[in-house]
């Protein structure tokens, strides 16, 4: 009996809460853009959402968010749900099930763009003699391309990290990343890091690149392997989310003496930077969103860049690096401020980069805007 009463109460609570939530969000005829990410709770998710909210304040647009699972089917279901809500465009974090996603958007008359990562219009298959073959659906006018990370130049990260390692006088360095097929830039950064460090300090040794698949246990296994094979290792180049995976794994192995050169950023950076953390860095999420939003907004207003090549479908986003407390302060002020009008790209700058508002706007100009480094942003804000 008690359980039944609880059950009924829960149902009532549910209905009421649903009704309240729905009453709160009135339907308007604004442009609707859907955003799909694995979650909206980590730094990446909250920053993207925060910039979208800034855009809502400055454009006649409404964003809706859908958290999707990491498998293909969940991705498609999430996309369907967004299209069912009447989205005019969908921004996906990832290139999961890309061809089908584009086909579905085309059917629904909605634009589609990839936020975190570049996409390639062609593939080079063995059976076609490695000739470029158009990937199905990628030539659709509803597909607006992706965003190249690391400012289009992952090598710069490798060089910068090598400099940091050299400055700290590190001699024995391990490297751990995600598998190459999921994170190609990781290998590039590792290679340049190794080459650059060899130039700076020929006595320094960088061990072979180890990889793991996205779980804490597998990461821990790799870290343990590294520590066993090279007990005297001084630092780890943590390409596979250094802060989220590798730092805890080092802690669990009681090796807080091992320094960390990490890709990634979260709110522990501040405290760790005075300790074992030498570098951190992350995508400039504002720039990612801005690059995609400009393309969507122009496309919806029937505009396009005159100078954008047919196959030139990826925008650019920068990758700010933090190696000192001073840089961290700048990072907080200009990359992830609570008030985005003080951030990387203001609404004014954005409008200026759109053909809709500025007939002289160019694709090169947009990429320059969204590829700015921390220094350049700082200058722009000071002006």
């Amino acid at each position: 009996m008690k359980k039944r009463i609880i059950g009924i109460m829960l149902i009532v609570a549910l209905v009421v809460s649903l009704a309240v939530t729905v009453a709160a969000c009135n339907n308007t005829q604004k442009t609707k853009i859907g955003v799909m990410l694995y979650n909206f709770t980590d730094i990446q998710g909250t920053e993207i959402k925060s910039y979208c909210e800034y855009l809502e304040d400055n454009f006649d647009v409404e964003f809706v968010y859908e958290a999707v699972g990491s498998n293909d089917e969940a991705h498609i279901s999430g996309l369907q749900n967004l299209l069912s809500q009447g989205c005019n465009a969908v921004i996906s974090g990832y290139d999961t099930a890309l061809s089908r996603s584009i086909a579905m958007c085309e059917e629904a008359g909605a634009y589609y763009a990839v936020l975190l990562g570049e996409v390639s219009k062609y593939e080079y298959l063995e059976e076609n003699g490695y000739q470029p073959t158009l990937v199905e659906g990628m030539d659709s006018k509803y597909f607006l391309g992706g965003v190249t990370q690391f400012g289009g130049n992952p090598e710069t990260v490798g060089v910068a990290y090598a400099q940091a390692a050299y400055n700290a006088g590190l001699k024995k360095i391990g490297a751990i990343s995600f598998p190459e097929f999921t994170f190609k830039d990781g290998k590039t950064i590792y290679d340049t890091f190794k080459a650059e460090l060899a130039k700076l300090d020929p006595t320094a040794e960088v061990y072979e690149l180890q990889t793991f698949m996205y779980t804490q246990e597998l990461c821990e296994a790799e870290v343990t392997k590294l520590l066993t094979n090279h007990p005297d290792v001084e630092a780890v180049l943590g390409l596979g989310s250094g802060l989220d995976y590798i730092y805890p794994a080092l802690q669990n192995n009681n090796r807080s003496d091992v320094k960390l050169l990490a890709l990634g950023y979260n709110n522990t950076v501040e405290s760790l930077l005075s300790g074992s953390l030498l570098t951190a860095g992350t995508n400039n999420y504002t720039q990612c969103v801005a690059s995609v939003f400009v393309r969507i907004w122009d496309a919806m207003n029937g505009k396009s860049f005159a100078d954008q090549g047919e196959d030139d479908i990826n925008g650019v986003a920068g990758y700010p690096i933090i190696t000192s407390q001073a840089e961290l302060e700048d990072f907080k002020t200009y990359i992830i401020p609570a008030d985005k009008s003080n951030g990387s790209i203001t609404a004014e700058e954005l409008k200026n980069a759109m053909v809709t508002y500025n007939e002289n706007a160019t694709w090169a100009g947009l990429n320059e805007l969204t590829g700015r480094t921390l220094e350049e942003i700082k200058e722009a804000r000071a002006a």
Binding site: A97, S99, R100, P179
Partner: protein
């Protein structure tokens, strides 16, 4: 023939102790009767009630968008693979087995589908491959659990790792995405909603017959309740279990074709999470995961639809993403509390 029939019924000639109280006299239907009826049909009422409730709530909260043509198509395409899987796997759960490999098996089937379609261009071969692979997986799964008497959870765990391993390895071998080079070939499975509905109906009907009107289903359910009793009543327990796994395999194979056609490409995570979807769908449908004679195929149907409606409805009614899990959780808890309670009255028997 007539005498034969009479022999079968043994009426004790003159029972001295009359058991008169057994014949209930006809009464007028009173409120109490209705309440009694409702109580006896409690589980069905709750199952359909939950479904109707979800439907009504979302119809209101989405302002009718739930029933827009586009969204109906969406629902159909989301329900189809889940429903077919659940309808097959209910055979495994009914006999007291447990399966958590379905996601990985779907992944493996999807991977091979892509290879087969890209090489041969034959959808029929794709379907055949998927069924063959899924059946093989489930035969190994069921076979090892029966042969070595290990828990079916464990054997399905092994299959899960193996199948997922093959998928991950193949995906990692190449930089290019593994995808259909010509996805229009499988359009029937991805865009033909009539075909989807028809497939569901046909498969559910076949499963319904197998589950409720054949020896296979009846004995499987009896095994779920009491393997010893079922064996003493003539069930070949191992054979029946094996057949259940094969039915599950066929259904999962067919479902994989719909699943892969819907997404068009295979990543290392293809299908993962399906095992939970199926479990949740069956529970939402009022199925007791320990199996037994109370298992109903309608659990798979109602459960799958309710489950898809839940995610779809919550999403398009604009519930913030951060709350969706919470709301889903509450609803799930409510339904489970109401349907899966066990009665405490276990009678004592003399020693």
């Amino acid at each position: 023939m007539k005498t034969e029939k009479e022999k079968r019924v043994m009426v004790p000639a003159e029972a001295p102790v009359e058991e008169t109280s057994e014949t209930p006299k006809k009464r007028k239907i009173s409120g109490a009767d209705v309440w009694q009826f409702a109580k006896s049909q409690k589980n069905s009422l709750i199952r359909y009630g939950a479904f109707v409730l979800v439907l009504i709530v979302f119809a209101i909260t989405t302002g009718g968008k739930l029933f827009s043509t586009y969204n109906l198509k969406t629902i159909v395409s989301q329900v189809t693979p889940l429903l077919i899987m659940s309808a097959g796997l209910i055979f495994v759960f009914a006999h007291g087995g447990m399966d958590i490999s379905v996601g990985a098996v779907v992944g493996l089937c999807s991977l091979l589908s892509v290879y087969v379609l890209n090489d041969t261009g034959s959808v029929f071969l794709v379907l055949l491959t998927c069924i063959a692979v899924a059946v093989a997986c489930y035969v190994i799964n069921g076979g090892s659990s029966i042969l070595f008497k290990i828990m079916s959870t464990i054997s399905s765990l092994a299959i899960m790792f193996a199948a997922r391993g093959i998928v991950t390895y193949n995906v990692s071998r190449t930089d290019e995405t593994i995808r259909f080079t010509n996805s229009s070939l499988v359009k029937m499975f991805s865009d033909n909603y009539g075909f989807m509905v028809a497939s569901c109906v046909i498969i559910v009907l076949i499963c319904k017959v197998l589950f409720d009107y054949t020896k296979l289903g009846k004995q499987a359910k009896a095994i779920g309740d009491n393997p010893l009793g079922a064996a003493q009543s003539g069930a070949n327990v191992n054979l029946i279990k094996m057949l259940c796994y094969i039915v599950a395999g066929v259904c999962v194979g067919i479902a994989s074709v719909f699943a892969i056609a819907r997404v068009g490409s295979v990543s290392e995570n293809m299908g993962s999470g399906r095992e939970m979807d199926v479990l949740i769908a069956l529970i939402l449908g009022g199925m007791s995961l320990s199996g037994g004679t109370k298992s109903k195929l309608s659990a798979a149907v109602i459960g799958s639809i309710t489950y898809v409606l839940l995610s779809n409805g919550l999403s398009i009614s604009g519930v913030p993403t951060n709350y969706i899990s919470l709301v889903k959780g509450i609803l799930f808890l409510v339904i489970v509390l109401l349907t899966l309670r066990q009665s405490k009255n276990i009678r004592e028997l003399p020693r």
